[in-house]
C-alpha cells in the first residue's frame, strides 16, 4: 500500500510540470499574444502598444525561449507570479486573499451536497420505482438541465429582492468587524445561503441519480444477501456493507466535481459579488491584468491536482482491490 501511495504522490510531479508548461504555451502560442503579435495581431486582441510593451517586459520575452521557460518554471514553482498590472501588488498575495471564500464555497457546498445526496439517494434506492422515486428523479433531470446562473437569478429575484429574506451581495455585511463571534457566523451563513443553493442544487441533481444507481447495483450483489443471511440488522447491512461499496465510485466523481464547481464559480461569484477567485478572474480579464489571470489559472490547477491526489489515495485506502495494481 505504501508503495502505491509513494508512486501516486510522485506522479503529481510530471503533472505539475505539465501544468506549468501548458500555461507557458498559452502565453506564447496564442495568436495575438505578445510573443507573436505583429501589428495585425495587436488589433485582434485589442491590446494597445503600451500594454504590449509592458507584457513583453513582464514575461521577459526578449530572452531566448528556453531561458524564458526556465524562468517561468522557477517562478511558478515558488508560486511567484509577479505583480498585478492593475495595482502593483504581488499576485500571490492577491490570490491568497481571494482563495478562502472560494474554497469555503466550493468545499462547503460539495460537503453539504454529498451528505444530502447520500441520504436522499438511500431513501430512493429502497423505494425504487415508487411515485416518490420517479418524482425526485424527474426533478433532478429538470434541475440538471437548468443553467446554474438562471437558478441564481431566480433565487436573487425571489428570496433576495422580492421576499428580502437573505442578503445576496458579498461575503459579509458592512458592520461585520463590530459583530460578536456568533453574529459573525450567522452573518456569514446568511450571505452564503443563496449562492450556496446555486451550487448545491445542480450538485444534487447530478449526485442523487448517480448514487441511487450505484446503490441499486450494490443492493443486487450476493454479498448483501449474504450479509442479511448472517442475521445482521438492516441498518448494519446498509452502513457496514452497502454504503462502503456504493460510495466508492462517488470518490472518483469527487475528483471531477471539484474542477467543475470551481469553474462554475466564476459566473455565480460575479452574480453574488462573492469576493472569491472566480470574481477576481472576471475583474482581471476586464482589466487585462495578465499576471493575475495566469497566476490564478495555475493556482486553480494546483488545487484540482491536490484534490485528485487526495481522492486517489483515499480510493486506494478504501478499496483493497486497487492497491496492488
Amino acid at each position: 500500500m505504501w508503495r502505491y501511495f509513494l508512486k501516486r504522490v510522485l506522479l503529481t510531479v510530471p503533472t505539475f510540470v505539465g501544468v506549468i508548461l501548458l500555461t507557458f504555451v498559452v502565453i506564447h502560442l496564442a495568436p495575438g499574444s505578445p510573443a507573436t503579435a505583429d501589428d495585425a495581431g495587436l488589433g485582434d486582441s485589442g491590446m494597445s502598444a503600451v500594454e504590449h510593451q509592458r507584457l513583453r517586459a513582464h514575461y521577459q520575452m526578449d530572452a531566448p525561449l528556453h531561458v524564458q521557460l526556465a524562468r517561468w518554471t522557477a517562478r511558478a514553482v515558488r508560486l511567484d507570479f509577479g505583480r498585478s498590472f492593475a495595482n502593483g501588488r504581488p499576485v500571490s498575495q492577491i490570490i491568497a486573499e481571494r482563495i478562502k471564500p472560494t474554497l469555503l464555497l466550493t468545499f462547503g457546498t460539495i460537503l453539504i451536497a454529498l451528505v444530502l445526496a447520500i441520504v436522499i439517494a438511500s431513501f430512493l434506492a429502497t423505494r425504487c420505482g415508487r411515485p416518490i422515486d420517479k418524482l425526485i428523479l424527474t426533478g433532478c433531470v429538470g434541475l440538471y438541465a437548468v443553467p446554474p446562473y438562471i437558478v441564481g437569478l431566480l433565487l436573487i429575484w425571489i428570496f433576495g429582492v422580492w421576499l428580502n429574506w437573505f442578503p445576496f451581495a458579498g461575503l459579509t455585511s458592512d458592520e461585520f468587524s463590530s459583530m460578536t463571534t456568533w453574529r459573525k457566523i450567522a452573518d456569514l451563513a446568511g450571505h452564503s445561503v443563496l449562492i450556496g443553493l446555486c451550487f448545491v442544487g445542480p450538485l444534487l441533481a447530478y449526485l442523487i441519480p448517480f448514487i441511487r444507481a450505484s446503490l441499486l447495483s450494490v443492493l443486487k450483489e450476493d454479498y448483501v444477501r449474504a450479509a442479511h443471511a448472517k442475521g445482521l440488522s438492516t441498518r448494519r447491512v446498509m452502513f457496514g456493507h452497502v454504503l462502503p461499496n456504493a460510495l466508492l465510485p462517488l470518490l472518483t466523481v469527487l475528483g471531477l466535481i471539484v474542477p467543475a464547481v470551481m469553474g462554475g464559480s466564476v459566473v455565480l461569484e460575479v452574480m453574488f459579488s462573492w469576493p472569491g477567485m472566480g470574481r477576481l478572474l472576471y475583474e482581471s480579464i476586464g482589466r487585462r491584468d495578465y499576471p493575475v489571470i495566469m497566476g490564478m489559472t495555475i493556482v486553480s490547477a494546483v488545487i484540482v491536482l491536490l484534490v485528485t491526489l487526495v481522492v486517489d489515495l483515499l480510493y486506494a485506502w478504501a478499496d483493497p482491490r486497487v492497491r496492488y495494481v
Binding site: D222, G231, L232, P244
Partner: protein, 282 residues
C-alpha cells in the same frame, strides 16, 4: 402426521409458491418438503429450475417484488411452537438467520464483501449472535477457520476477498455459516465451482459439522455423486416442482421420474469421463 414424527421435524415447507416480480409463471409451484433434525437432504435439479429460489425463500431473502404463498415452519429450539417464517417480523427474522438457519451461497467469491477483511466478515456473525467482546470474536473466528481446514488462519483473517482462490473462498463461506452454529445449513451448490479434489474436501467438511454439531443440511446440487455421498434423502426438482423424494438407494430402481434419471445418467457419464482421464473422483 403424528406427534412423534412431528417432533423430529426441523423444517416443514407446505405448498410454497413463489412468483418473481413481473414474471409470467410461478418459479416454484406448490413445493412441499420437510427436513428432520440432523438430516441431510439433497435437492437435485437442472439449472434454472428454482433451487436457489427455494433456498432464498426459506431465508426470506427473495427480492422485494416476489410474491410468496404457502407456509415454511421452523420448529423452535425447545420443540414447542413452530415459527412461521413467511410471516415472521423482520427483527425476529434476524435471530433465525445465521443462528437457526444459515446459507452458503452459490458463488463464494461474490458473497464476500470486497472492501472488508475476511476476519471482520466472520467476526460479524459471531458478534451479532453471541454477546462476546471483539477479541473473543477474533479467537472464535480463527477457530472456525481452522475447523474448515485452513492452515494459516492468522494470515487469512487479515486477507482481502480478492486475494483468495475459489476453493479458499468457499471454505471461508462455510466458516461464516458455521460460525453461528445453525440448526440447518443450506448449501447452494457448494461444489459446482471447484475441481474434483476440492470437491471431495468440501463434502468432507460438510459431513463433519453434521456429526459434531448435530446440524441438518439442505444440499442443493445438480451432481448426483455429491448427493449420493452426503444425503440421507434426495429430492429432485423438475420444472418448478419437486418430483421425487426418496432415499438415495431407491434411485437404483427403474421407475423413477425421467428428470431424476437424466440427472443421474449425466453424473455417471461425467464420472466415466473423469475415470478414463485417470482423475480421482469420489
Amino acid at each position: 402426521m403424528t406427534n412423534t414424527r412431528d417432533r423430529d421435524t426441523l423444517l416443514q415447507i407446505r405448498d410454497l409458491r413463489v412468483r418473481y416480480d413481473q414474471a409470467a409463471a410461478d418459479t416454484l409451484d406448490r413445493v412441499s418438503l420437510s427436513i428432520k433434525r440432523q438430516e441431510a437432504v439433497a435437492l437435485l435439479g437442472d439449472s434454472g429450475c428454482g433451487k436457489t429460489t427455494l433456498a432464498l425463500a426459506m431465508m426470506r431473502l427473495l427480492p422485494n417484488g416476489a410474491m410468496v404463498s404457502g407456509s415454511i415452519e421452523l420448529r423452535d429450539g425447545d420443540y414447542a411452537t413452530p415459527i412461521e417464517l413467511t410471516r415472521l417480523a423482520e427483527d425476529r427474522l434476524r435471530e433465525v438467520r445465521g443462528k437457526r438457519m444459515a446459507m452458503l451461497f452459490q458463488s463464494p467469491q461474490r458473497s464476500l464483501n470486497p472492501v472488508l477483511r475476511i476476519g471482520s466478515q466472520i467476526e460479524e456473525v459471531i458478534r451479532v449472535h453471541t454477546n462476546v467482546r471483539r477479541a473473543d470474536a477474533r479467537l472464535k473466528a480463527i477457530q472456525s477457520l481452522t475447523r474448515v481446514g485452513i492452515t494459516d488462519p492468522e494470515r487469512i483473517i487479515r486477507a482481502w476477498p480478492h486475494e483468495l482462490s475459489g476453493g479458499m473462498a468457499q471454505r471461508i463461506g462455510l466458516a461464516i455459516t458455521l460460525a453461528g452454529q445453525p440448526d440447518l445449513l443450506i448449501a447452494d451448490e457448494p461444489t459446482s465451482s471447484l475441481d474434483a479434489n476440492a470437491k471431495a474436501q468440501v463434502v468432507e467438511l460438510l459431513r463433519k459439522p453434521r456429526r459434531t454439531m448435530g446440524m441438518a443440511i439442505l444440499l442443493i446440487t445438480h451432481d448426483w455423486t455429491i448427493a449420493r455421498a452426503l444425503a440421507d434423502r434426495v429430492c429432485v426438482m423438475d420444472g418448478n416442482r419437486i418430483v421425487e423424494d426418496r432415499q438415495p438407494e431407491e434411485f437404483e430402481a427403474h421407475n423413477i421420474h425421467p428428470a431424476a434419471r437424466r440427472l443421474i445418467d449425466a453424473s455417471n457419464r461425467r464420472l466415466r469421463i473423469a475415470v478414463t482421464n485417470g482423475d480421482d473422483v469420489r
